[in-house]
């Protein structure tokens, strides 16, 4: 078991997502940076479906009531185990009574804690991913107990390796495909969009990232159609909105671009004022 001493700013249990329920209007959810959480799970020899703790901006403080192994991945939140600094992307043995604490991010935005065997929280509609209205809670709370399995130190004697690599969060270029309404933009507008120097606005969360400045356009709204995480919507008032993991399943704004899977993960490590530009993949 893990006892939550401090919850952090917005910490939740997430896994690979709630695949199969979007036809009922249920978002896919799941980890924002799948590359980082997959890396953590791989280093523990976990299934890629194993649930992890996702922390945003400011991390949690946790007390372990079981021995296990952990990996911290994604954003750097200056993790400490019993006040001793730890590094990301490395399996760490943890004992009963140990206290793991995280600070504010120094690089990136989303930090992951993977535990050997994954978190054993409730499964709703085939997933452990927290989402308001679907799971009982949408964030973890102080004094809450999170269930995990206990592993003795005989396991994981040899360090695990993974082909996955942590990537450089400072890369600002996002790879994109044309969205369904890209061709409704004029040639000049298409060029301008693909050459835009954009920044993350102050409005960003698990549902969507709003970019700035505005992008003037005269596209009309469309008949409500399907949308995906990574869809870049362009509103009539010129707002560029990149949908993320908790996004709605359908929407009525023109879908001008679609981020590649790797670029969704990269964007998840950006925060207010970080620079963004697009590069079109054919």
């Amino acid at each position: 078991m893990i006892e939550v001493l401090k919850s952090g700013m917005h910490s939740s249990i997430q896994d690979a997502g709630r695949f199969g329920y979007r036809e009922l209007g249920v978002p896919i959810s799941g980890v924002m940076d799948k590359n980082a959480s997959d890396l953590g799970n791989a280093l523990l020899d976990n299934s890629i479906k194993a649930a992890v703790l996702e922390m945003i901006m400011i991390g949690a403080k946790l007390k372990f009531h079981a021995a296990t192994f952990i990996v911290i991945s994604g954003a750097n939140m200056s993790p400490k185990l019993n006040d001793i600094p730890q590094v990301n992307n490395k399996a760490i043995a943890v004992n009963t009574g140990d206290i793991l604490s995280f600070g504010a991010v120094t690089n990136g935005l989303h930090c992951y804690l993977a535990v050997k065997g994954g978190f054993k929280t409730e499964i709703v509609l085939g997933s452990k991913s927290y989402y308001y209205g679907i799971t009982k809670y949408h964030v973890i709370k102080a004094n809450e107990i999170l269930s995990i399995d206990s592993f003795s130190s005989s396991i994981l004697k040899n360090p695990q390796y993974s082909k996955l690599k942590s990537y450089d969060f400072s890369i600002s270029v996002l790879n994109v495909f044309k969205g369904p309404e890209f061709d409704l933009l004029s040639y000049t507008e298409q060029k301008k969009l693909l050459n835009s120097k954009l920044k993350v606005s102050k409005l960003y969360n698990r549902m969507a990232y709003q970019l700035c400045p505005n992008f003037e356009n005269d596209l009309n709204s469309i008949l409500t159609g399907p949308v995906l995480p990574g869809t870049v919507q362009l509103t009539p008032s010129g707002k560029l909105i990149v949908l993320m993991r908790d996004c709605q399943t359908t929407g009525g704004y023109p879908r001008v671009l679609q981020l590649s899977e790797a670029s969704i993960n990269l964007l998840a490590q950006k925060k207010e004022r970080d620079s963004i530009s697009f590069r079109l993949k054919e």
Binding site: F19, G20, Y21, R22, E23, L24, G25, V26, V124, L125, G133, I134, F177, K178, G179, P180, I222, L223, T224, G225, P226, L228, G230, Q248, T249, T250, G251, Q258, L259, S260, E261
Partner: protein, 240 residues
């Protein structure tokens, strides 16, 4: 019936199939038919299919290696003969209280449309609406069939806290908010019914192709149905 469809790549893992941009029951039938063919063809593959008024999005659980091959396959599947299923299933009777305690925007709508409040209620509860798809929020039904005299543009500034059960009109659409949510529609009433019950095997009772009829109820009835829903003893009525 066969349409000239557009097939578009949508990211690494999805293909979007589009019909003409209109709300039409023949298109809905065609979409539901195609969806069944897709589900049968891919019965052993893990994928998701989202439908809307004029599109099907096929979301694979893997990167599509050869987009052109996949699209040819989808096209040949579309040209196969249609299944003979009757998609137009259940007609659900949805109780709605149009009392001004719930219908915050009724007065404004009445002024804008130069209709009395009772006339708006009559015109909203008279049609039998078609469920085109479920989207936006868990259990949010996209309905077609709104009386043209009630069309009204969405609010320019969305309301940040629309209550669960709120019945609204936005553009040429009407619908019920299944949970508290921000939204830009004009609110004219509230239904005491749950549109998404996570503990049920089938969390959302209505599906694409079903019909919906609103029944105007008084505040007293609202309260008693609300209690029944809370105690899990309310049975949603169907019209045959």
């Amino acid at each position: 019936m066969s349409y000239d469809l557009k097939y578009k790549r949508y990211g690494e893992r999805s293909i979007l199939i589009e019909w003409p941009q209109i709300i039409d029951e023949n298109i809905l039938k065609n979409i539901l038919n195609y969806k069944i063919k897709l589900k049968n063809y891919y019965s052993k593959v893990k994928l998701e299919i989202i439908i809307t008024y004029n599109s099907i999005l096929v979301i694979y659980n893997f990167t599509i290696d050869n987009i052109n091959d996949e699209i040819s396959m989808l096209k040949s599947l579309y040209s196969r003969s249609e299944t003979q299923e009757d998609f137009f299933g259940t007609t659900w009777e949805i109780p709605v209280c149009y009392d001004e305690a719930f219908g915050f925007d009724l007065e404004h709508l009445a002024e804008e449309k130069k209709l009395s409040i009772s006339e708006i209620i009559k015109r909203h509860s008279r049609p039998i609406y078609t469920v085109y798809f479920v989207g936006f929020l868990p259990g949010f039904l996209y309905l077609g069939g709104l009386d043209k005299s009630l069309y009204i543009n969405r609010k320019s500034i969305p309301n940040l806290n629309i209550k669960k059960g709120a019945v609204g009109i936005g553009g040429n659409q009407t619908g019920i908010y299944p949970k508290n949510s921000p939204g830009g529609w004009h609110i004219i009433g509230n239904s005491p019914i749950d549109f998404f019950q996570i503990e049920k095997q089938n969390p959302c009772f209505a599906k694409a192709g079903d019909k919906v009829k609103f029944k105007s109820i008084l505040r007293e009835e609202y309260v008693s149905i609300y209690e029944e829903v809370k105690n899990n003893s309310y049975q949603i009525k169907t019209i045959s």
